[in-house]
């Protein structure tokens, strides 16, 4: 059935995608997102620090990166031809590219980091148009699992800064600052009302900075370092780019993971903006993933690590109920401006460990729950249960037992060295394996001269329940079959039994109706009022037109008095 032109806003969304919030709300939300997104600056920062680059160059590179985030956020929201989903779905640097980028930095320095980043972006853009055809390989439970794992591993990565080997023990003032930061965010989110709830993350960050100043975590020495940074400057983008085939695998996997994460994030945006959301709209997902790939290409060109749509940011929009596209434009404008104001990235770089970790833990909570929701958006049968459970356990094993990665052969290390990549690859492999024997068929024959629609309805309901098919799709198939038989019975010559064969394979529901008799027409245009009223033939034409719109695809075949109508429904 055709999608309604306008979508119904869910009750928890105060300002939807097309809404224009008051200017203060828009700007404050934009700042809040910038506050959340800049946390991920830690990834390029850690890659650049690994190369022991001079601090001025690092600040300049971060400025370039910030500029990329602004352009990427704008591209995603603005929609340039087929590129961009149109959603308020800001970009940020991704944890997914972190390990691969660090490896490239150690192997071939900045030129290799940027060269491989372009490669990953191109790959993502190439994969994007085929996502629709790859639905069977990337079902919601896998994209949900990826999002869940990103949330979980993000939280663990944050805690590693506190408890990991090599991490300095937390001082009492750090615990206090961390507790104050996350406590403020959580308290305002849970018990706060209006603006306090809406700006919980930003207020929490400000509280964290103030507490850091009071406790001495940010001292005058650090502030002086920011003071000497110039107010205005051009980002450094003058580097060579190189490519190394040996690094193609980890970057390809990272690219695959980011395209899936982008698809998942766009799915959250769709869901967040549509109270009647039923299934992912692949058109906007493809456009969103294309924009995500283009942004990573841009990152490689300008001189940054790979970007990805920010699930915490979308999670924040869901938490605050502000999903307006105008906020994305404000976020883009702030980032672009920040790209030319090096003092601001330098100031943001001051964020002490407990503030960064607290903000990370707060935002990943929303990612994990969104992942869970997507995973469980379909009935969890035995196949999906095993895929989700085993992949999660495998991913967690990598985090708990570092020996798995350490003892793996160099060829396997890109896969088993990352909990996210291993969980994803295992889920994809299990899903492909479980496709075997998934298609189920049932037939139903009507011998009566006058077909009983209740029996047809009961046939579809019984089979739908048995197959775990979505009720809305079963309803469409049931109605389509009843309408077809009704039209044939009334106005088309026929004799003998009518046979209904329905086959279901989780992503497709195909219904074939066969009978001895004449063919029904399926016009693309609705018959005119005069045609419908003029004769019973008008009702047949209207039936054909409605059936064409009811199914995702209709095919009519006829030979030697035998007619067959095939309805295809995307599940």
């Amino acid at each position: 059935m055709s999608k309604p032109a306008t979508t119904r806003k869910p009750a928890n969304i105060v300002y939807g995608l097309e809404d224009t919030p008051p200017i203060l709300v828009t700007v404050m939300n934009g700042l809040q997102h910038v506050g959340v997104l800049t946390i991920n600056l830690v990834y390029p920062l850690l890659v650049f620090r690994a190369l022991n680059l001079p601090i001025e160059l690092v600040t300049s590179l971060i400025s370039a990166g910030v500029l990329v985030l602004g352009l990427a956020t704008f591209l995603q929201a603005f929609r340039l031809g087929p590129v961009g989903s149109g959603f308020m779905c800001p970009s940020t640097f991704s944890a997914t590219f972190f390990a691969a980028s660090l490896l490239a930095a150690k192997t071939g320095g900045l030129p290799l980091v940027f060269g491989m980043t372009i490669f990953a972006g191109v790959l993502e853009a190439v994969v994007a148009p085929f996502l629709n055809r790859l639905r069977a390989i990337f079902p919601p439970e896998i994209s949900g699992l990826v999002i869940f794992m990103i949330g979980l591993t993000g939280g663990i990565a944050g805690l590693r800064l506190i408890f990991g080997s090599g991490a300095a023990p937390m001082r009492p003032e750090e615990w206090i600052v961390g507790a104050l930061t996350i406590g403020t965010m959580v308290a305002l989110n849970v018990w706060g009302k209006g603006a306090a709830s809406m700006f919980c993350a930003l207020i929490g960050l400000v509280v964290g900075y103030i507490a850091s100043g009071v406790t001495g975590l940010i001292d005058s020495h650090m502030i002086a370092a920011v003071a000497v940074t110039p107010w205005v400057g051009m980002p450094a983008i003058d580097f060579h780019r190189t490519f190394d085939l040996a690094l193609a695998a980890p970057f390809a996997i990272a690219s695959l993971a980011t395209s899936m994460k982008a698809a998942g994030t766009i799915t959250i945006c769709q869901k967040m903006n549509d109270a009647d959301w039923v299934r992912p709209d692949m058109k906007s997902i493809t456009a969103g993933v294309l924009a995500d790939g283009a942004s990573t290409i841009l990152a490689g060109i300008v001189g940054a690590v790979g970007t990805n749509t920010s699930t915490p940011s979308v999670g924040l929009a869901a938490a605050t109920g502000v999903g307006s596209r105008k906020v994305a434009f404000v976020v883009a404008a702030i980032f672009i401006l920040m790209g030319f104001l090096p003092k601001l990235p330098a100031l943001l770089g001051l964020a002490p460990r407990p503030v960064v970790v607290a903000a990370l833990l707060f935002t990943v909570s929303f990612i994990m729950i969104n992942g869970l929701q997507i995973m469980t958006s379909r009935l969890l049968d035995a196949r999906r249960t095993v895929i989700i459970a085993l992949s999660t356990i495998a991913g967690m094993a990598v985090e708990v037992f570092p020996s798995i990665a350490a003892s793996a052969s160099p060829g396997l290390r890109p896969v088993v060295g990352s909990s996210l990549v291993l969980a994803t690859v295992l889920a994809l492999a299990l899903n492909l394996l479980f496709r075997i024997g998934i298609k189920k068929t049932a037939t139903f024959s009507i011998a009566d001269a006058v077909p009983d629609p209740d029996k047809i309805g009961a046939f579809f309901q019984t089979q739908g329940a048995k197959w775990g098919a979505r009720p809305d799709v079963i309803k469409r198939a049931s109605y389509g079959t009843i309408q077809l038989i009704d039209a044939v019975a009334e106005g088309v010559w026929h004799e003998g039994p009518i046979v209904i064969a329905a086959s279901f394979d989780e992503f497709n529901l195909d219904v074939r109706v066969s009978y001895n008799g004449g063919q029904l027409l399926f016009p693309d245009e609705r018959p005119s009022l005069e045609q419908i009223r003029g004769s019973e033939n008008g009702a047949q034409l209207l039936a054909g037109f409605m059936l064409r719109r009811n199914a995702d695809r209709v095919r009519s075949e006829g030979a030697e008095g035998q007619s067959r109508v095939l309805f295809h429904y995307v599940h």
Partner: protein
């Protein structure tokens, strides 16, 4: 289940408006019953008719034709003719057929009666 789906046609008068309530499924086997009932009301001189589809499970094209023929009859005799109670699946079917704009449709029976079956 079968008995619940059988078409029932009711008729009540509210504030001078003849409200025809339809319930169950309407298809080629009973669409003529609906059409004939509506035609006979119009022929009897009824000037304000509201058809309440609130209890309808689904309609096939034969039912839509019946309603369109009745609309035409009403226009000829300058009678007001409107529909109400289009919710859920039934409304989707009207959308699927691109038929919403061919009828006068009210959000509720109360509103339809206040308008006397007109716009």
């Amino acid at each position: 289940m079968a008995t619940n789906n059988v078409l029932s046609i009711g008729e009540i008068r509210e504030a001078g408006v003849c409200v025809v309530t339809l319930a169950g499924r309407i298809d080629s086997t009973n669409a003529n019953d609906v059409m004939n009932r509506l035609k006979s009301l119009i022929a009897a001189g009824e000037k304000s008719i509201v058809v309440d589809l609130g209890g309808v499970i689904y309609l096939t094209s034969a039912a839509f034709r019946a309603l369109l023929v009745a609309t035409d009859e009403a226009e000829r005799t300058a009678a007001k003719f409107a529909l109400c109670g289009l919710t859920g699946h039934v409304r989707e079917l009207f959308e699927m057929g691109g038929l919403l704009e061919l009828f006068t449709i009210h959000a509720s029976r109360q509103e339809a009666v206040v308008q006397g079956g007109g716009k």
